[in-house]
Amino acid sequence: MFEYAPAPESRAVVDIKPSYGLFVDGAFVDPADGAYFKTINPASEEVLSEVAEAGPADVDRAVAAARKAYDKVWSRMPGRDRAKYLYRIARIIQERGRELAVLESLDNGKPIRESRDVDIPLVAAHFFYYAGWADKLSHAGFGPAPRPLGVAAQVIPWNFPLLMLAWKIAPALAAGNTVVLKPAETTPLTALLFAEICQQADLPPGVVNIVTGAGETGRALVEHAGVDKIAFTGSTDVGKAIARSVAGSRKKVTLELGGKAANVVFEDAPIDQAVEGIVNGIFFNQGHVCCAGSRLLVQESVYEPVLASLKRRMARLRVGDPLDKNTDIGAINSAAQLERIRTLSDIGGEEGAERWSPPCDLPENGFWFAPTIFTGVTQAHRIAREEIFGPVLSVLTFRTPAEAVEKANNTPYGLSAGVWTDKGSRILWMADRLRAGVVWANTFNKFDPTSPFGGYKESGYGREGGRHGLEAYLDV
């Protein structure tokens, strides 16, 4: 037996302070009412730090600081100078990449391999990419001199804490806006380290403000009269509430919400790579991915070999300590999320789907869920319709390409889809018909700052990334 010895990444590279204030106007400040909450390591339930809980007065202060920085400094600064700051931030992120990766894994529970090889490199890439746009906005296709919107209120989820921050902040700043960002309450630490990076980069005070807190803080921020733009990534329910609350106001909104993506495997697919794509589609980041390929649609003629291959591959997944460099699947981010995954999985079983997980030892402390597949799932099962946001795959079958499209589109969501086939013409045929913001062909969960990302239907509206991503932050 080739047993891999533990290969833990060192925690010593990151210095976690016992307590963090709010980042307002270029400095860390105490919250007005002195409230703090704890953030824990979901892999061990160990308390990592205490973080300020921003109330309405704090949000007010942050929005005022962002407004002042917008009026006096950032909106007046030539694009090439804004670019210098963004390039500087991107370089510091690269230089402090290991520190950010370890902190992300500690606070979120994701494997260090992912934070090191995916999240943090993409974060830097986003800042580099949008830095390049800052002085070229007149060539972006939005008129000769597109104007920024003003102060952007940005609320981000816990699944890719720093990456979602980058998706929000980099284009906003490049376009000349200032921001107030609220990270998720379970994963605030990398955003606060990013605040330190803004200081290190000498970013003018007030251009980036970070207010930590839970749902109430987010509500105060998006409902604040002083913000011009709201960008939200998170659940569809909260997205709908935000859309309602800003209806009739001048605020522009982009929403990136849930998904229940179909990953469609045709009989002529490269099976070994398709199985990798299925695994990557649903088990990447413990399935905490809005565009996760959570519905596998397999052509009936290859159902058995695909399923056998998938099970064999799943038996090789290494679940455990997120800081171990050989871990494939880390911890579920919170007790609440674990509960939701368990509830929906139990419903899957009760509704008659067959549940399977490879044998795996889960750690005693922390929040864990074994990678799981359900076979015999139909469109009528709740696990085929509702977003589970965990390492749980529903397997369905289809007979013809037309049926595949019909089933793939039969969901209120429309964020992403995957197509596996060796036939180029079929990829184009499918991409034409799938109602999803991203269609991956013979790959899954591939991200690049140059490529726009966003949803159809209840998966939201607006695009992030690429030239399209600038539009959300320009007055066009």
Binding site: Y4, A5, P6, I271, Q273, N442
Partner: protein, 316 residues
């Protein structure tokens, strides 16, 4: 594989058309995906006890190779001594799997290795190009076996393969296998000349269908030798072949594997693709020469805690 069962496998080699239909019916290989998977496995971090275990296994899997026009009995004898006792200072260091030489050097190697348990492998079949008439390839093989080689590393007919004459490739391998008698046959695909992963998969199946005991990546004589993704595709092939037929075939990447780090990446690839059953010198080999000293250097580093200079390891 999807539509074929073990029972009708014999019919796939009944005609050129049947063989072509079978090979072209194998699932394709997506280049990007295969390379990504191999690269991901290359990031596994193998430390301490796992590394020590992997190094000793890798040493036991080395086919210590010299295939030069300048080879002499003296050179081959020196290499055989190294094969028996790779680290003269440390009796716990295992022997390598085999010595791999040209047919003319087989008698020297066999004599020098007698009683050691180290196998004598000989390249044959007009290695490395294979561009000779079949009778000469067979005679080459028989001569090597007669001289004492118990493993034969043959090259496939890439010219025939690339022009789609799959049955010819198959029949040649089958004939060489017969000429081998009791000797084990390793079938060199020369993947650098096949150039696509689809071709590698098809050639792997031809080699296995024709009775090869091992499939091997390369001769080491063309610019592109063993790579991780090519080896991944071949390991998938032997895994699938055993699922279908019950017969296990070995894999030997050769050429370009020079460091311990590289060798460990291959072992991880085997472990996470085909599993334990292939983590044995009977089923996985490294065709290499310089690799051995790096393995020894890392082995010494693990036991003593310090790196020793190259002068502390024997020349081969």
């Amino acid at each position: 594989m999807t539509a074929t069962t073990a029972s009708d496998l014999s019919s796939v080699t009944s005609s050129d058309a049947a063989l072509r239909a079978f090979l072209h019916g194998l699932p394709g290989v997506d280049q990007v995906g295969a390379e990504q998977r191999a690269a991901m496995l290359g990031t596994r971090s193998i430390k301490t006890t796992a590394k020590a275990w992997a190094i000793d296994l890798a040493i036991r899997m080395v086919d210590l190779t010299t295939l030069e026009g300048a080879d002499t009995p003296g050179k081959v004898r020196a290499l055989c001594a190294k094969a028996r006792r790779p680290d003269p200072a440390d009796p716990t260091c295992p022997s390598v799997a085999a010595i791999c030489v040209y047919p003319a050097m087989v008698p020297v190697a066999t004599e020098a290795l007698a009683g050691s348990g180290v196998h004598t492998a000989s390249v044959a079949t007009a290695f490395p190009s294979g561009q000779a008439p079949l009778e000469i390839k067979l005679a080459d093989t028989r001569a090597a076996v007669a001289a004492g080689a118990d493993e034969i590393d043959m090259v496939i007919n890439r010219g025939a393969f690339l022009s789609g004459r799959y049955l010819e490739v198959y029949e040649e391998i089958a004939a060489v296998k017969q000429a081998c008698g009791p000797a084990h046959l390793k079938v060199i695909l020369e993947t650098g000349e096949l150039s696509t992963y689809d071709n590698v998969r098809r050639a792997s199946w031809i080699g296995m269908l024709a009775g090869g005991d091992f499939i091997k990546t390369s001769t080491g004589k063309v610019p592109v030798a063993a790579t991780l993704p090519v080896t991944l595709v071949m390991i998938e092939a032997v895994r699938d072949f055993r699922d279908l037929t019950g017969r296990q075939v070995g894999v030997k990447p050769a050429g370009g594997i020079r460091t311990t780090k590289d060798a460990i990446k291959y072992l991880v690839l085997v472990n996470e693709t085909a599993g334990d059953d292939w983590l044995d010198p009977d089923w996985f080999r490294f065709g290499a020469s310089t690799l051995l000293n790096d393995l020894l250097m890392q082995r010494t580093k693990l036991t003593t805690g310090v790196y020793a200079g190259p002068d502390y390891f024997t020349l081969d």
